[in-house]
């Protein structure tokens, strides 16, 4: 290893790690774009009733006079087969997407992290059982699993969420397991044991803080995929049911009118692209900033 050129001119002030991270983030244009996209989506979703040009489009509104109108000044993204404003529906659709993200990741991430930490720390049989169970869950094709769950229960948003959650924790378990397992060889874990620290202390005070940055990066990258997966379920008719606006359902309905009324499928498609791009850019930015490997 090289010692590193750590000589500083006297005039140079030393940067704290926070400042360094912020510097890396600031000079990472894609991360800034990502943040901008996410913020715009969140604002759009929260204030949808006020921002949407025609809030009534969110429901079972019908306006046959204006059906299949192409994008224009009045209808930014055009209207659909019953004359509802697609732009308004996209804004309301983001509410569903973000709700899905919060619901799925809010349960899957803590659960996966806990299992990963436990497996790495406990070792032996516990480790074997947890990790083999994770492997089994990983081996199930996600779409088949989701189809099974929503078919057994009834197809709606909550059940779609359950289906995705059932699959999602595994990735976090594997990631955290690997990081925590690496830490187990570090002297500070042994030092804590020598000091008589309890299991809970070692798990949550020694191991967990070192996993936080990886969790943050993974979660922000995941958010995009959860939205995509939710949209895919809705597209297949297994997720959100009409007339609730959902991006996947909108693409599905709109695709029947391709190619003449292209905006009806494409515009919601772009909306999905936009938000996923945002989460991915943010995730990459965080990864560079916090210097973690996934």
């Amino acid at each position: 290893m090289n010692d590193g050129p750590m000589i500083k001119d006297e005039t140079v002030r030393t940067l704290s790690s926070g400042q360094m991270a912020w510097y890396r983030f600031k000079y990472n244009p894609s991360a800034l774009v990502g943040v901008f996209i996410i913020i715009s989506v969140i604002i759009g979703a929260i204030f949808a009733p006020w921002l949407a040009p025609s809030p009534e489009s969110a429901g079972a509104h019908v306006d046959f006079l204006n059906r299949h109108s192409p994008p224009s000044g009045v209808y930014l993204m055009g209207t659909d087969n019953v004359g509802r404003d697609i732009f308004s529906r996209v804004l309301f659709g983001y509410r569903v997407s973000l709700g899905l993200v919060v619901g799925v990741l809010g349960i899957a991430v803590p659960f996966g992290v806990l299992l990963g930490l436990t497996a790495a720390y406990a070792g032996g049989w516990t480790e074997w059982v947890i990790m083999r169970f994770t492997d089994v869950m990983l081996a199930i094709p996600p779409l088949a699993m989701a189809l099974a769950v929503t078919a057994v229960l009834s197809p709606n948003l909550v059940n779609a969420m359950i289906a995705i959650t059932l699959l999602w924790w595994t990735w976090h378990t594997r990631l955290i397991y690997r990081i925590a397992k690496g830490q187990m060889a570090e002297d500070y874990v042994e030092a804590a044991k020598v000091s008589g620290a309890s299991h809970v202390h070692i798990l949550f005070r020694e191991l967990l803080p070192n996993c936080i940055s990886a969790i943050a990066v993974k979660t922000s990258l995941d958010a995009g995929f959860v939205i995509l997966f939710g949209a895919a379920l809705s597209f297949l008719g297994l997720g959100v049911q009409p007339p609730t606006p959902d991006l996947g359902t909108m693409v599905s309905t709109g695709s029947e009118y391709l190619p003449e009324y292209w905006w009806e499928a494409l515009m919601p498609g772009f909306a999905i692209l936009y938000v996923i791009l945002g989460f991915n850019l943010l995730g990459d930015g965080l990864r560079d900033m916090m210097d973690v490997e996934l």
């Binding site: 290893m1 090289n2 010692d3 590193g4 050129p5 750590m6 000589i7 500083k8 001119d9 140079v12 940067l15 704290s16 790690s17 400042q19 360094m20 510097y23 570090e186 002297d187 500070y188 042994e190 030092a191 804590a192 044991k193 020598v194 000091s195 008589g196 620290a197 309890s198 202390h201 005070r205 020694e206 803080p209 070192n210 936080i212």
Partner: protein
């Protein structure tokens, strides 16, 4: 001047990180003539490695930038050469031996593949072509130069199958493949045991005289410099502060920094050696009786074989209260395993350990035990949790030994005072502290619940010499103040000579010799102890004279050679 190999003049180099430009090399001037052995010395962070990487052209630019100056190799300016021309010099003109023999190899390729690539690509760059077998015999010839006669065998091996010393030899062989004129060695052998390091240094010396190489040696170890260099440049903070022939520098160092470096090297023999007095406690703090530790693990899937490693063999020791008891040995000698047994982290397969008059069996794991024995680890970088503040880490032992929470704050301040750190450091994270400061925090943590015995596992080996001495002084002071007993584990015998009152030398799991430090060093009995002592590079002629002299035959009888494949 025809025989000038390398000339660096007025070199200024800066780094730009986070928008701030920092100058790291200031007006560097030095040169090497053909056949010379020149050494660049300084502490970590003095710019030695940056200088080396600038010369061979592997310093990433940006962030690095040469502001000014020139580097000439045989009169040709290197800094303005094109990438291609510069690459052509690699290996054929200037070659390098890196510090860590394990990290320098690709673990999944055979030695042959890795060496052959070097020859092949050099041939391609220089528009030569040789057959595969011609290259192979060239490689085997080169391995002979580094005294590896069993070339065929070595070429078929993977790096992990070779010992550390042998890997270092192969690495040197690699750098010689294309007949370079200048060899740059970055801390050669530092990662190896002292006996192996000795062999590597001898080899480099032989190569310089026999192959007509010119050697640029980069090191922080003055003992190595004394054995290896004709001329010396001393670097501090990116500047060359003193230069001269080796004898000039060692006889009459002029710059205060050089003096400081010289004085910080602990003497092995002579008047300057500090004898640590015995404390006159009769009772034993630790009694170890016939302890064995065997690690076995099952390998293979179908026909499961058991691989057995007898790490500690029949060890018996008495450590009196107040002793600073040194346990010396090379890597793999079982000293760390013994330490972990003392801490109750490994259970011995047989034998008894009594600590503070209580048998370890029932004692370990209790709060009382934790208040008796604590440990300071080798690497403060890994023994402190990077994501927790100093105060948080000091709190852990307090919390789990029944300290009442309202006293935490006062105790933490007291601990920081004890290790001479400002109280404001409590809220800092480890990466904001220097290596020495981190180690002080680790010592404070170990002391936080008033232990009687501290196990020090190479507490200073990750630190620079100057900082090492301040930590040692701190440990001495703390022992006097709190009547502590130290079990000091190290491979650094010079340090042990000046820090411990009793030592035991461990060799392949056994204690081969133990006694008062002064007696052991003055009159070592066991051939291994003698070989060990004779290998330590020292900085004065007087010490050289007082070291035990060990013949090659005597040495080979106890040490495994690094020139032949075992097994």
């Amino acid at each position: 001047m025809s025989n000038r190999i390398l000339e660096v003049s007025d070199l200024d180099l800066s780094f730009t990180t986070y928008g701030q430009r920092t100058k790291v090399l200031h007006n560097l001037n030095f040169h090497l003539d053909a056949g010379e052995r020149v050494s660049l010395i300084g502490q970590s962070g003095s710019g030695k490695t940056v200088t080396m990487r600038t010369i061979i052209g592997t310093l990433p630019m940006p962030p690095g930038k040469v502001e000014n100056g020139s580097i000439r190799y045989e009169g040709r300016e290197l800094l303005t050469l094109s990438r291609k021309q510069r690459n052509r010099l690699k290996g054929t003109g200037i070659s390098i031996v890196l510090q860590d023999p394990l990290l320098s190899f690709n673990p999944v390729l055979t030695i042959h593949r890795q060496m052959d690539d070097i020859v092949r690509y050099a041939d391609m760059r220089n528009n030569k072509s040789r057959s595969r077998s011609a290259r192979r015999s060239h490689i085997i010839d080169t391995l002979k130069k580094v005294q590896l006669s069993d070339g065929e065998h070595i070429l078929g091996s993977y790096p992990m199958q070779l010992s550390g010393g042998m890997r270092q030899r192969v690495l040197i062989g690699m750098s010689l493949l294309n007949n370079p004129r200048l060899l740059i060695a970055d801390e050669p052998g530092t990662a190896l045991d002292v006996t192996t390091q000795q062999e590597i240094l001898n080899l480099l010396n032989t190569l310089v005289s026999e192959e007509g190489l010119t050697l640029l040696l980069i090191t922080h170890n003055l003992g190595v410099v004394r054995e290896m260099a004709d001329r010396v440049y001393v670097m501090q903070k990116g500047r060359i502060v003193e230069q001269g022939t080796r004898d000039e520098i060692f006889a009459s160092p002029k710059h205060p920094y050089t003096l400081e470096l010289m004085n910080s090297v602990l003497p092995l023999y002579g008047d300057k050696v500090v004898d640590v007095a015995d404390t006159h406690h009769e009772e034993n703090a630790i009694e170890i009786r016939g302890v064995n530790k065997i690690f076995s693990r099952k390998i293979g899937i179908i026909r499961r074989k058991t691989e057995v490693n007898h790490a500690v063999k029949e060890v018996s020791l008495d450590i009196s209260r107040g002793d600073i008891f040194g346990i010396a040995g090379e890597s793999g000698s079982g000293k760390t395993t013994l330490a972990k047994i003392l801490l109750g982290l490994h259970k011995p397969n047989s034998g008894d350990v009594t600590i503070d008059n209580q048998n370890l069996d029932g004692f370990q794991g209790s709060t009382e035990f934790r208040k008796t024995v604590q440990i300071v680890y080798q690497n403060p970088g890994s023994s402190l949790n990077p994501r927790r503040t100093v105060a948080d880490q000091l709190k852990v032992p307090l919390k789990f030994t029944g300290f009442s929470p309202e006293n935490y704050h006062a105790r933490i301040e007291e601990l920081l005072d004890m290790v001479e750190l400002p109280r404001s450091y409590a809220s800092m994270y480890p990466h904001e502290l220097s290596g020495g400061q981190k180690q002080r925090v680790a010592i404070a943590r170990a002391l936080s619940c008033h232990p009687k015995i501290l196990v020090l596992d190479e507490p200073t080996s990750a630190l620079d010499v100057l900082i090492q001495n301040s930590v040692i002084n701190l440990l001495h002071r703390l022992r006097d103040e709190f009547d502590l007993t130290y079990v000091f584990i190290s491979h650094d015998l010079s340090l042990m000579r000046n820090f411990c009152n009793r030592v035991a030398i461990m060799f392949r799991g056994e204690i081969c010799e133990q006694g008062r430090t002064r007696d052991i060093f003055a009159n070592p009995q066991h051939p291994y102890t003698r070989a060990l002592l004779s290998s330590i590079p020292v900085i004065t002629a007087e010490e050289e004279r007082l070291k035990p002299v060990v013949s090659k035959a005597e040495r080979d009888a106890v040490l495994t050679t690094t020139t032949e494949l075992t097994d």
